[in-house]
């Protein structure tokens, strides 16, 4: 009997998710024993026409990482959706928009202006900008369209499962692959990670005092947390209460408060809203004036609370012509 085939594909991503597959280490041999890799642009050369030639269902699973911002990415993910019975959004970007999703805090025009005209290291005397079509030495060339905003994968195609994380830990990937091979997958639409908040799994949970009382919010950019003590108790914004568990608490163990890459904990539709609710509960202020002072110590709330999921949040993006201060580009 021939082995089932899987495909890996990337959209707007950094390559870290591909790295996670390599991080499977010797487990990769088990994977390769059990399946054939039919597509993996980072490691092997494939052309679009090869994929177009697949019979429907020939390749069982497509693991797609990265968010979607280019017309070409849409073409590819639609093609893979058409061919593969199971599509897995692999990693925070495909799941929720991820770090590239923070581009939804600005506009396409600002991005292009900065990239092609204002960047300090730039030398572009002719004012060149990317075009979707141009002619060079008599040849017609095409480039994909750069969209106005970033979208998570499930906004453009139907997604069967989500593997969260930036990147997903090798253990989570391995158990997902095993579940697919053994046919023990949970109901469609599931996030393949434990259904509880990170705090429940946190090694620092027992250092959390009975009641938290934050009088000032601190940032890891300007001070260093005490290792071995609950970050929230120290006044650092740790996304643990609103974030799904299953990451192996890698950041916490490296003295870095949770930044929320696993996405909302079950029951939290909007991670930023839930986290803001928690921060308000934990504050020490008891008058309107001191509440304002406490809120003033918070910096870049959108970037902090929606670091990995702005495109999948309720408001989806920033409206930059409002009274909000536009981000520094």
């Amino acid at each position: 009997m021939s082995k089932p085939k899987v495909a890996f594909y990337w959209c707007a991503s950094c390559g870290g998710c591909e790295e996670t597959v390599v991080d499977l280490a010797e487990d990769i041999l088990k994977v390769v024993d059990a399946v054939d890799i039919a597509l993996w642009p980072v490691a092997l050369d494939f052309k679009k026409k090869d994929v177009e030639a697949w019979a429907p269902g020939e390749v069982t699973v497509a693991f797609i990482n990265g968010s979607v911002r280019l017309s070409e990415q849409l073409e590819w993910v639609r093609l893979l959706r058409e061919k593969c019975p199971i599509v897995v959004a692999f990693g925070a970007c495909a799941h929720l928009g991820g770090i590239p999703g923070l581009a939804n805090a600005t506009t396409r025009e600002r991005i292009l202006e900065n990239k092609y005209f204002n960047a300090p290291t730039l030398d572009n005397p002719d004012g060149l900008q990317p075009l979707t079509a141009c002619t060079v030495y008599g040849c017609d060339l095409e480039l994909p369209e750069f969209w106005k905003d970033v979208k998570p994968l499930d906004e453009v195609i139907e997604v069967d499962y989500y593997l969260p994380g930036c990147p997903p830990p090798a253990k989570t990937v391995m158990s997902a692959v095993t579940a697919i091979l053994e046919g023990t997958l949970p109901p469609k639409g599931a996030v393949l990670s434990p259904a509880k908040a990170l705090c429940e799994a946190c090694p620092l949970n027992n250092t959390k005092p009975e009641t938290l009382s934050i009088s000032e919010f601190k940032r890891v950019a300007t001070s260093t947390p005490d290792p071995g003590q609950c970050f929230l108790a120290q006044g650092y914004i740790c996304m643990g209460p609103a974030t799904r568990a299953g990451c192996g608490e890698r950041c916490i163990r490296a003295n870095m408060p949770c930044r929320g890459c696993f996405g909302p904990a079950p029951g939290a539709r909007d991670i930023g809203g839930k986290m803001l609710g928690a921060l308000g509960s934990l504050g020490a202020a008891d008058t309107e004036e001191t509440s304002m002072v406490l809120a003033d110590t918070l910096v870049d709330l959108v970037g902090t609370l929606y670091r990995f999921n702005l495109p999948a949040s309720l408001l989806k993006r920033q409206y930059t012509s409002g009274t909000g201060v536009p981000p520094v580009m």
């Binding site: 139907e158 639409g189 539709r269 308000g280 959108v302 409206y319 012509s321």
Partner: protein, 157 residues
């Protein structure tokens, strides 16, 4: 020029013990006030998860009012202090998203302050009318790529 045709849609989260009772009093006292507000009874202003407010704005509200017992009067002793601390944080977050701070109000209304509730709805409706419609989805639409979507129903997490 404010659009005279525009009727602001305001969502009000009113605490069951003080503010909702205050709103009831405004009604039973037959005080006239604009019908722009859709009051929602919550057990406490401290129960108002910022997600509720964000959802209201995302789904088309032009303004949101959170009203609870005066500080010190909370039925659950400290719920309204939570609302008090969340309010400036939430206003700051919404401001960064591009939703004007004046679209969100936090007020203390006791069960006996029906007139205050009516005055508040009047003044807040006028303020939001002057700001104009928010219509979040339409507002951001020019900044979003529209794609024919087959969004999975199961995909909501």
């Amino acid at each position: 020029m404010p659009d005279q045709q525009f009727e602001p849609k305001i969502v009000g989260f009113l605490c069951r013990w003080c503010s909702y009772t205050g709103a009831d009093l405004a009604g039973t006292s037959r005080i006239q006030y604009p019908s722009n507000i859709a009051p929602i009874k919550v057990m406490c202003s401290g129960r108002v998860d910022p997600t509720f407010v964000i959802t209201a704005f995302a789904d088309g509200a032009d303004g949101v009012l959170i009203a609870g017992c005066h500080p010190g009067d909370c039925h659950y002793s400290v719920g309204n202090y939570k609302a008090m601390r969340r309010f400036p944080m939430l206003a700051k977050l919404l401001d960064q998203f591009g939703i004007e701070r004046a679209r969100l109000r936090l007020e203390w209304i006791s069960a006996s302050e029906g007139h205050l509730y009516a005055d508040l709805v009047k003044s807040f409706s006028e303020e939001v009318r002057a700001l104009g419609p928010l219509r979040w989805k339409q507002r951001i639409a020019p900044l979003c790529e529209s794609v024919d979507i087959a969004r999975s129903q199961a995909a909501t997490v």
